[in-house]
């Protein structure tokens, strides 16, 4: 697709028709094993605001600070242009707090561009889908699709803190995150380190029968990092990645967008319930305004399946809090309370929000102050599963995180043809 093509698109209806045709062409090329142009990829991004998550500052202002020009086409739909790279694609606000960037750029160009955009902006983050969120989405896939349909799940766990040589910088987040790029169709992973990555393609009915048993014997299979929603209107499906990237491998862009909306609604519910439960603040006691203060909120508790070894614990603390570009994107000066216990009254380094953490070899407890976006919690859980313990269990207060995702999913109806 040329820039000229993109500039001819004037609105949402036109955009959907255009990408529908584009998707159908790509499916034909895939059938002939001759993919001539990149697939349509959507990147789900969460907008954050200092005073209020998903605040109402204009999208143009937020993105222009990152040198991305947004040309309005219609309500909540823009053409996104980078001064160096030209027209990147279309940006659509799907929900108050979540936008999607639709692009046909090649992965090796688009992913680093998105990565730079997010890394340099405390107002924009990926939509983080943790292994536990994927686990609930997988249940939905199993309910929505016939058992004979094929699907794909990818499980990714990289024990980046379990290394022999502490000088190895796997615990740092590189400017371009190759491990995520490599999940796409275009590049084979070349980085060597202790890691688990499974790709499972099978009939849904078979996976439903086997997955739990496999997870019981091998915990990295809890770390689902990619899941395909089979398209209900044709062949193929929509590949959701843990950092909010979604590749359209179906012949319908409209169906692709419907799936984005479905998952985004669940995510938004989850954000809201996390924030409602986990925000800590001092508030007035009900019924006695102006007089009594009480603490309201609930901590995030993560319990590791197996205690970390002393070496892994030390590596976790050192590489996280001594390196600027650490994977967990945290900042703080750890207060060492024992061989395997530290307290950190620190900051979520990406969103610049305070976060108080207790790390031990058995788990993590986090106090999330009032106003902190729920996104911080989901990124922490996602990254703990991915980099530390794939079988870790998370709770917000007394409630299992998984249950919160299930409840969020129940509140969202699946409406395949809604625009």
């Amino acid at each position: 697709m040329t820039e000229q093509d993109l500039r001819q698109i004037r609105g949402r209806h036109h955009l959907i028709r255009f990408f529908d045709g584009y998707a159908a062409e790509r499916m034909e090329e895939i059938d002939e094993r001759k993919l001539k142009r990149p697939l349509v990829k959507s990147h789900l991004l969460e907008l954050l605001d200092r005073d209020r998550c998903g605040g109402h500052e204009s999208l143009e202002a937020i993105f222009s600070r990152r040198q991305v020009n947004l040309t309005p086409l219609e309500d909540d739909l823009f053409l996104a242009t980078d001064p160096q790279m030209g027209d990147i694609g279309f940006l659509e606000r799907l929900r108050p707090r979540v936008v999607a960037l639709y692009s046909t750029f090649k992965s090796e160009e688009l992913i680093p561009w998105i990565h730079r955009l997010v890394m340099h902006s405390p107002e924009i983050d990926h939509v983080w889908l943790s292994g536990q969120t994927f686990s609930v989405l997988w249940d939905l896939v199993a309910r929505l699709s016939r058992p004979q349909r094929f699907t794909k799940l990818v499980f990714t766990h990289e024990s980046i803190f379990d290394i022999d040589d502490s000088s190895v910088s796997t615990a740092e987040e590189n400017e371009m995150d190759f491990s995520r790029v490599s999940e796409d169709e275009d590049i084979e992973e070349i980085v060597e380190r202790r890691a688990t990555r499974f790709q499972l393609v099978d009939r849904i009915g078979v996976i439903v029968q086997k997955l739990q048993k496999l997870q019981d014997v091998y915990s990295p299979l809890y770390a689902i990092s990619q899941l395909r929603f089979p398209s209900p209107v044709g062949r193929g499906g929509h590949d959701f990645y843990d950092n909010g990237r979604v590749t359209n491998r179906s012949e319908s862009f409209l169906d692709h967008r419907n799936h984005l909306l479905f998952v985004v609604r669940i995510y938004e519910q989850l954000l809201k319930s996390t924030e409602d439960s986990a925000w800590y603040s001092i508030r007035e006691s009900i019924g006695t305004p102006g007089q009594f203060r009480k603490i309201v909120g609930a901590p995030l508790v993560v319990k590791f399946r197996e205690p970390l070894s002393a070496g892994v614990f030390d590596s976790l603390i050192q590489t996280t809090f001594q390196r600027k570009r650490n994977r967990l994107r945290l900042w703080g000066h750890p207060i060492r309370l024992g061989p395997t216990k530290v307290h950190v009254y620190g900051v979520d380094r990406h969103l610049w929000q305070p976060l108080f953490l207790e790390f031990t070899d058995k788990g993590c407890v986090a106090i999330v102050p009032d106003g902190t976006c729920g996104n911080t919690v989901h990124r922490l859980v996602t990254n703990i599963q991915r980099f530390l313990d794939p079988g870790a269990q998370a709770f917000v207060g007394g409630k299992p995180y998984r249950q919160m995702v299930e409840e969020s999913a129940r509140k969202v109806s699946y409406e395949p043809r809604i625009q």
Binding site: R50, R65, P122, Y280, S281, I282, S285, G287, T288, Q291, F292, R293, K294, I295, A298, P299, V301, K303, K324, W331, G332, H333, I335, R336, L337, G338, P339, T340, K341, H343, V344, Y345, G346, V347, R349, W352, Q353, P354, L355, F356, L357, E358, T360, K362, G363, V365, I367, P369, D370, Q393, F395, G397, G398, K399, P400
Partner: protein, 352 residues
Amino acid sequence: MSPGFSDLIGDPLFQLNMVLWLAQPLPEAAPITPLFHERGFDVYAIAPLLPIPPDVLLAATDTHLAIQSGVRPDVVLVNLEESKYAFTECKKSAFGPASSTADQARSLLLLAGPRSHEILGLVPGQVSKALLEYMVPENAVQPLGLSLEVLQRDLRERSFPTGDYCVFGISLNENNLSLTVDQVGGTFFNIAPGQNPFMEREPDTDPRPLYFIPFDPDVEQSKDEKTLCKRILFERMHSAILAAVGHANPPCELTLQCHQILNDATFGMYEHWENKDSARNMRRLCRQFVGDLQKSVNSISTDAMTFRSPQGWQLSLPDQARHERVIEVLTRFCSESLELGLDPKPELFDDL
């Protein structure tokens, strides 16, 4: 850095934070078993100032009984379903019936009496039971119990409407922290009398939880403990400042104000600090910390961060490069390197 752990169980801030954790919603997998929350008790109020009714004050004056006219228990716990209220006071050690602390204890006994609903501003049906709960190191349970018995008997003999009390002992052994519950407290909270472990311990490890309330200038603490709590307060101020700077969009001037920093660092408790001397002391600490931070920031440029009264500190962020440089300096700054043992001296801007 950490002081002796056996002293920790007598530290009022440790005790206060522990009471708050015991009333939090936590899963079974959590490092703390929330003994109070599991029995339906939540935090109703932190350090509320509760005035004793005037007729009771008058009666006390007439009978030459020393009580406090207003009393501030550390925490009030509530079980809303059963309309039970527990006025919780943390103490380092026992005290005698003739000590000055006994004045406070008499008032607390009156709080927990049949007029507790009135003192809390509630209607009679909203309080079915009330109890005064002391939290002390286990070795102080018995002597404190004897003192409270004397005080309660004395009040009742003079026909004052007092409530019941219990004394919970915190103990620490090699394996865990426990709460020793007496019969009265056990019945009220529905916790088995005797030792109730609530937190497992690791060898050579400080058992403290994350602190909700990091610092209180009014409580008496050991030097080491005060130093550590001061560091926690500084870390929290540091994170509040870094969060504010991280969110700034240059070009801009960012204003940092003492009261905002302190509120951010204490979950908003600072603005409710009614003891003016304590609030002033907190502001001094804030100025001490931000002053040191300012010196580091001004290594970039002498006017990068300035103090102007009454606005506060002005941080100049003319462009992206300066913004990144300031963040770099702020993240490298560490409060551990400061003279945490020294108390700041009174200054010209104390009341700002």
